[in-house]
């Protein structure tokens, strides 16, 4: 046996460098989105006001990007009511995390526990040196060791691949965009923009239409960016997690158990849902079909894992 030769060993170094570019692109895309929105809305309220609105837009999107980079993980953990696990509790969990972190060549992340009986888990942080992994009490109770290893390996792959930074940034930026659009939407009503349209004639009407359309569309576009990013990440983390444990059925069986569990995770919300290993909300909206799913269908993930043997 020559050591560990596998045809498609996905180096975490390659995934990590791809994610560095993705981070830059994401921040650029969100900044552009916010800038376009601000420009048209500013122009709508006062001719020439579009340019004046840009510095504010950049300050807000830059500020929230910085905030999410340095404190996003703490915000998310606090919101999920996760408690850090001490060095002498949950020894099996700690053992699994430490072993798999060694296999991936990353420092052992901080371990958090969410006291909730719905089985689920997520990882967060800005890089492997500042990473945290959170699991629910239900996950520990309902999974056996190989299944737990599968789930932890999946989450650690997110850490090793630097997915966690992208996911934290996206989570906070989507929230910011939604908030901005909401403010603008309200201000349309407050100032009754129609009055200004009359003073300015045709151009004003066009700006009004564009500004309103943008205020509606921007949060949707932002959400779609988030979803596209997170679904693709899940397949990759499943694959690298399976490579790490050398046992794809472990994760497949864990996903099956998590999917069969109908209990929603109470501490999860729309903003944090995409961080978890499987959608914690259990409320797939039928109307938009799969456009707004935060995760690829679990059956599809299980099928891909089973095809790895």
């Amino acid at each position: 046996m020559t050591a560990d030769s596998s045809p498609a060993r996905l180096s975490i170094y390659e995934a990590a460098s791809a994610n560095r570019w993705r981070t830059v692109l994401l921040i650029a895309a969100f900044t552009a989105l916010v800038a376009v929105l601000a420009y048209f809305v500013g122009e709508y309220f006062a001719p020439g006001g579009g340019i004046a609105a840009l510095p504010f837009a950049f300050a807000i999107s830059g500020g929230s990007a910085l905030l999410s980079y340095f404190a996003g993980d703490r915000l998310i953990l606090a919101q999920s009511q996760a408690r850090e696990v001490g060095p002498d509790e949950e020894l099996e969990l700690r053992d699994v995390v430490e072993s798999l972190a060694l296999g991936l060549g990353i420092p052992t992340p901080k371990i958090y526990l969410i006291e909730d009986s719905a089985p689920n888990a997520f990882a967060t942080g800005r890089d492997p040196q500042h990473a945290s992994i959170a699991v629910t009490r239900g996950l520990l109770d309902k999974l056996d060791r190989t299944e737990l290893e599968g789930v932890i390996a999946h989450e650690l792959s997110h850490v090793g691949n630097r997915d966690i930074r992208v996911m934290v940034l996206v989570t906070v930026l989507v929230g910011t965009v939604a908030l901005l659009a909401d403010w603008m939407w309200r201000s349309f009503f407050w100032t009754q923009g129609g009055r200004r349209d009359r003073d300015r004639g045709g151009a004003g009407a066009i700006f009004a239409v564009i500004a309103i359309a943008l205020a509606v569309l921007t949060p949707i576009i932002a959400t779609l960016i988030q979803l596209a990013v997170s679904r693709q990440r899940e397949y990759l983390a499943d694959a690298s997690g399976a490579l790490l444990t050398r046992y794809p059925p472990g994760l497949a069986s864990a996903l099956r158990k998590i999917a069969a569990d109908k209990e929603p995770l109470e501490v999860a919300n729309k903003a944090t849902a995409s961080l978890y290993i499987a959608n914690p909300l259990k409320d797939a909206p039928a109307f938009f079909d799969h456009l707004f799913d935060t995760h690829p269908p679990i059956e599809e993930r299980i099928k891909r894992l089973e095809a790895m043997n």
Binding site: M1, A3, D4, L102, G105, A242, R246, Y247, P248
Partner: protein
């Protein structure tokens, strides 16, 4: 005109050398970092063994050859750890694993020992450490493979020797139970 062409060619060659050199340095550094992970776990294993021997000794008083063997094997593994190559270390660790196995075989014969909490903790700790060695080893070997492959493929192999890059050794443990490598397709 010719001089520009010559300069461009020389520049391109220089860039190629710089890029390849830096890549090799990065890969070799990753191998070293991965080795440090194995080293920590091996030391941990060495630290657990004296306590285990003491605990078992308290119950199995007549098995001194087994204890002597494991103590010697541990000493050899520790000294290989101080100066040895990965190959020498792996050899010493394999001897140690064999000796440890006989300690556990002896312990099987003493039911009272099985009930002792300290013994349970120690054997659980040892098993966990061995798991960790296996994972750290896998990561190390993956990095060695990446480095060696880059080193030994054309055209890097032509000049890598001139800069002092040498192939690294894999860390192989004889009885590691490896699960089959899954095929990953996208």
């Amino acid at each position: 005109m010719e001089i520009i062409v010559v300069l461009v060619v020389i520049g391109a060659i220089a860039l190629f050398f710089i890029a390849t050199y830096n890549r090799l340095v990065t890969l070799r550094q990753r191998v070293k970092e991965a080795w440090a992970d194995i080293d920590v776990q091996l030391k941990r294993r060495h630290d657990l063994i004296p306590n285990l021997v003491e605990t078992v000794k308290g119950y199995a008083t007549h098995e001194s050859t087994v204890f002597q063997k494991v103590t010697e094997a541990r000493a050899a593994a520790v000294s290989a750890g101080a100066s040895g190559t990965p190959e020498q270390r792996a050899q010493a660790e394999n001897v140690l694993t064999g000796a440890l196995r006989s300690v556990f075989a002896v312990a099987e014969n003493y039911p009272q020992l099985q009930a002792v909490q300290e013994f349970k903790d120690l054997s659980e700790n040892l098993t966990a450490t061995e798991d960790k060695i296996a994972f750290a080893r896998r990561f190390y070997n993956g990095n060695v493979r990446d480095y060696n492959t880059t080193l030994q493929t054309f055209p890097t192999n032509v000049f890598a020797g001139m800069f002092g890059f040498k192939a690294e050794q894999y860390f192989e443990l004889a009885d590691a139970t490896e699960r089959a490598v899954p095929q990953v397709k996208f």
